[in-house]
Symmetry: C2
Subunit: 429 residues, 2 copies
């Protein structure tokens, strides 16, 4: 069969990570090695929104140093979005618009880096193209700090967010250990709305019983107030201080988010509801029930962008995934997402790439295995440490400017001239 | 005059920093070079509390690698405290107890690393010793991330907290720039209860108009709600997104902390008071007034402990201060704090140490000069960048373990046997 010839478009979707640009870099550089097949390399501004709104740019007009610099630039340099396409019947207009734009620009290769929702979108675009007889190759690239994608050993972005969060809680632990006579408890709020992978990952910082985090709370283990107070008291009795890793998605036994509870849990000493997130609620509980001072840290978006202390393994694997996506595409493979396969472990850790069906990934979810947590659910096991440790290896190199701060890349974005005759407003009927 | 011969004790006080251990390392290693004068080198557990409670340890029994490792270990390895000694008449018992302990252990050299309050304590101990005829040499070592000590060009700890915070807001900026179609504004809450040095320091991250932070709010410039909303709207109009550096000590025109305002400012859309700090209050204002989604980041204690991305210049200067303290002491100088003197600037930046009277430092305060901020007070000037840039130079080396995470030191603390016949409970009459 003759190889499909045409342009490719790359897009990023969902919450950015420290290494999603590295994936894009891998896909661009590999695509550029096949100019007889992939004729033009375009980027979509803010994910699928850029396709819908016909805001695309020519990545081959970027300086080579900008493309290379993506490997050490956090966030989503193409721009990202949280625009969600529903199923083919409900969002039909959107899907048809995407194909209209693809036709206008002779886009024959579509690379989409994202999580479950993005893989679902990619899958549906692929289906519609097939149904309408438009030749299109769609390849997904796994991306999520949450590490909850099925069919892949782990997700690019996860290693870096854990490396940084574990380091940060180690440092916060040193702080609490020093100043515990005044600030006795520290609660660090950690990302992961539905999965406790990252929060549990901070357990890596705990090499000895004095080390933080002393207690870990993940969404997968229902939060019981009385047990929490008991656990904190026990740590305080033993050490005099306590550092807690609190997953933002912590839930009670009824499956309700702790952060959304305005009732018994969520009130401060003045009876006001606390809406500052789960860490503030736990602080309020500790201060009123245990009568010691507690502080909160919430690294927020910094945690998923911490290229200044990212995992080199993660950066390299992200690149490898992007590269593998482009290789699969030029071989004519479509409807797949690139996965990571752990070939060997420990000091001989080795990872290769594989492929999984987009539809399977879209409908799957990988929860934190219960055996990665101790019986009480407040600490991690050796099995989790074995799984995690290889993912944190190496420090990703970054450029530092004369001002002593990192230098990250911003793409020039050489815009393509609009080719369809109409303006399209996503989400409007 | 014959040199005073006896033991020394080192103590750390107040909020820890990334480099205060480096100062202690400098003081220990320099003291050890004068065994004919300084016979024993002790540490006090948790600052002055350790002296009052007679909890001290022998630092010469620590493995050499532990002492050396202090240079790359954040926080206060001796332990710190916020115990405040009042003036000589009101806290007389405490001061007398300190001298009682010093006599019992033949402590003739006292090194105290801390901020204004600690220098005040050190000064009073020095005075009382003189009054009671006890030969004692007291030398202070400047320490505070807040950079608000007078008589010193800058404070050890400041360079590192700025380097890290500026990097973090640069990374948060990349995040907002990528995902602004969903999360439009990000507010990063930054330490500095009374001084805006650190918050303003994040302005270093802004190399071009697109770069974060777009707006800076410091305690020195009164916060006016209407101007704030106007400023945010203006940035949003220009860029589509906005990243704000909010000093935790922001005050209104009446000098009241914004974070403590339960009234007009401090209410969320349900009418509940927001107590999660200034960032949550600003988020609430933006979401209700401008109707865009805002996120908050609060690095909390992590920012002052971020040895994983500390300034090498800062670490080295902190060491130099500790060393200079010990040198001054063995030369018989007392009642002084070691200061930093900027000898030259720019690429030829050079810093040496000086000495200032403890009493002068105790009563002084160095505010952020108005000329370091632009007219509106929401950005920094070239003068501030020139002042700051040398302090951020170089990455402090750290050890990384097989698990991919930093290795920090914990002192073994070989306890000294109590020598006074009584138990003393600080703060009790």
């Amino acid at each position: 069969m003759a190889k499909l010839k045409g342009n490719c478009v790359l897009a990023q979707s969902g919450g950015p990570t420290a290494v999603i640009n590295s994936s894009i870099c891998g896909a661009i550089q590999e695509s550029a090695r096949h100019p007889d097949i992939i004729t033009g390399i375009f980027g979509a501004d803010n994910g699928v929104l850029g396709i819908l709104q016909e805001k695309m740019f020519d990545l081959q007009q970027e300086p080579v140093s900008n493309i290379e610099g993506l490997k050490s630039t956090p966030s989503a340099a193409l721009g990202s979005c949280r625009y969600k396409l529903k199923d083919l019947t409900k969002s039909k207009e959107d899907y048809e618009r995407i194909l209209e734009v693809f036709r206008a620009y002779n886009i024959r290769y579509f690379f989409y880096a994202g999580g479950n929702d993005s893989m679902d979108t990619a899958d549906k675009i692929s289906q519609l193209a097939r149904q309408t007889g438009y030749d299109l190759i769609v390849v997904g690239i796994a991306k999520t700090i949450d590490n909850d994608l099925a069919y892949t050993d782990h997700c690019p972005g996860f290693g870096s967010v854990v490396k940084y969060n574990a380091t940060a809680i180690m440092e916060a632990g040193k702080d609490t250990e020093a100043i515990y006579t005044a600030d006795t408890v520290t609660i660090q709020e950690i990302m992961g709305r539905n999965a406790g992978w990252i929060t549990a990952g901070t357990g890596m910082a705990r090499r000895s019983y004095e080390d933080a985090p002393h207690l870990i709370y993940v969404p997968e283990v229902p939060f019981v107030l009385e047990e929490f107070i008991k656990d904190v008291r026990e740590v305080l009795k033993r050490l005099g201080y306590c550092v807690i890793a609190a997953g933002e998605g912590m839930k009670n036994t009824e499956g309700k988010y702790i952060s959304e509870m305005g009732g018994a849990f969520g009130k401060d000493s003045f009876g006001h509801a606390q809406l500052g997130g789960v860490a503030e609620i736990l602080r309020s509980i500790i201060e009123s029930e245990i009568k010691v001072k507690a502080r909160t840290n919430k690294l927020g978006t910094v945690q998923r962008e911490a290229m200044h202390f990212a995992s080199l393994t993660d950066v390299n694997e992200a690149y490898m995934c992007g590269q593998a996506a482009a290789r699969a595409a030029v071989e004519g493979i479509s409807g797949k997402m690139v996965t990571l396969i752990r070939e060997s472990d420990g000091a001989n850790y080795k990872c290769t790439t594989g492929l999984a069906d987009l539809s399977a990934v879209a409908n799957g979810e990988k929860m934190l295995p219960r055996e990665f947590l101790n019986e009480r659910g407040t600490g991690i096991t050796e099995a989790m440490k074995r799984y995690l440790s290889p993912l944190l290896q190496g420090q990703a190199p970054i450029r530092i400017g004369d001002d002593g701060l990192p230098i990250y890349v911003r793409l020039e974005k050489h815009w393509l001239k609009p080719k369809t005759a109409r303006e399209y407003i996503p989400g409007k009927k």
